[in-house]
Symmetry: C2
Subunit: 225 residues, 2 copies
């Protein structure tokens, strides 16, 4: 019975997500749903991306948090349009949903935006269940979280397109088996693009920037630009 209700909620959500995607496609905007545990480095990765690609591409962002507008304030410094969603007013919801994104996106003029980042709430479980209308799903995993996370939180990894293994600058100070982390990720999702990066040191970020460039081109082509 409980699962039946959940299925209905997800079906309604999916319908709105599809409408969102049609809107995003009209403006030929690539939309990335960025997910991770709390503190894995999503915001810093987005900041570094804005710093490096800000002259080349136009960005906007929707920030999701339970509380505070800290992250929106961090991104607004890069002179891009940002909308903060705090779910405290939605009963403290543990994920964004397509309706919240629709409302937030309606406050953005996407007509000249190449890439819209949707930074989801820090949580490896609930966000994975809710489509938002995104074209691609990005998972950020901090090396400090350990090598077993892809198998312990399989839905998030199974539905992702790219995995950014972040904070690799810390690897020498950890008992981490990176090979096992990569194996576990591929076991859950053999199609996952995996990039090892350090948002802090900049290590490996070039691969991520190229991934975005490629996806933007692909999106423009698909929209018939």
């Amino acid at each position: 019975m409980k699962i039946q209700v959940l299925t209905d909620v997800l079906k309604v959500n999916q319908t709105v997500a599809q409408e969102n995607q049609r809107e995003f496609d009209k403006s030929r905007t690539l939309v990335l749903n960025v997910m991770s545990s709390p503190g894995a480095g999503k915001t810093l990765i987005i900041e570094k991306t804005l710093e490096k690609l800000g002259q080349e591409l136009k960005f906007a962002a929707i920030e999701g948090d339970v509380a505070t507008a800290n992250d929106a304030e961090r991104l607004a410094k890069y002179d891009i349009p940002v909308v903060q969603i705090t779910t405290e007013s939605f009963g403290g919801a543990c994920h964004l949903d397509a309706n919240m994104v629709r409302e937030a996106a309606s406050k953005l003029d996407l007509s000249s935006v190449d890439v819209l980042f949707i930074e989801n709430i820090g949580n490896l479980i609930c966000p994975a269940e809710y489509e938002l209308g995104e074209h691609k799903r990005v998972i950020v995993l901090s090396v400090t979280e350990g090598e077993d996370k892809p198998t312990k939180y399989p839905v998030a990894f199974r539905n992702a397109n790219v995995l950014l293994v972040n904070k690799v600058d810390l690897v020498d100070h950890l008992d981490l088996n990176m090979e096992l982390l990569l194996q576990n990720s591929r076991k859950v999702n053999s199609n996952l693009d995996i990039l090892q990066v350090s948002a802090k040191s900049g290590n490996g970020l070039d691969g991520w920037l190229d991934w975005i460039r490629k996806e933007v081109q692909l999106r423009k082509k698909k929209s018939g630009a």
Copy 2:
């Protein structure tokens, strides 16, 4: 409307949680609900506690995960009774609830157990809403997650009794403002006991072990032992 349903669910959960607590009190068992983000170090802290206090006190554990029995296997090595709950069979629930704990606890003989650890699912949002029948709530926060987490995930910190700031061995390799982290924690919950620890190096663990000893004594006294 949605919030009404949530309120009912939480009320039913609370009733079962209170029944659980009455059972725990009968056996004079201190029950700790341990919560954190994925990979903050809950399991390693419990392992170190078993290693250091295993001769002095009797332990048992209920392990919560979406998938895998990895953590239960880690704890079983310490020769304590462990029950693993995987919520994949509950639609991938993002938290334990009082019913799951009732069922798991019924498989344990708590009559001689001093401390029952309930290791919740790695998630800083949903678990905070669900009482399980625990006497105290323990939050583990890894220093790698950053100083803003108490304000971004206020419910978990507001309802906690003790905060273990873990992985302090990594502090020298991070841009962390520890003073701000402590300030943010106290701002959300001025009654929080805060301990800085490294489960890996053992640094600061004595304070945590003393906290457990004190709480066990208090529990026995309250139960009239």
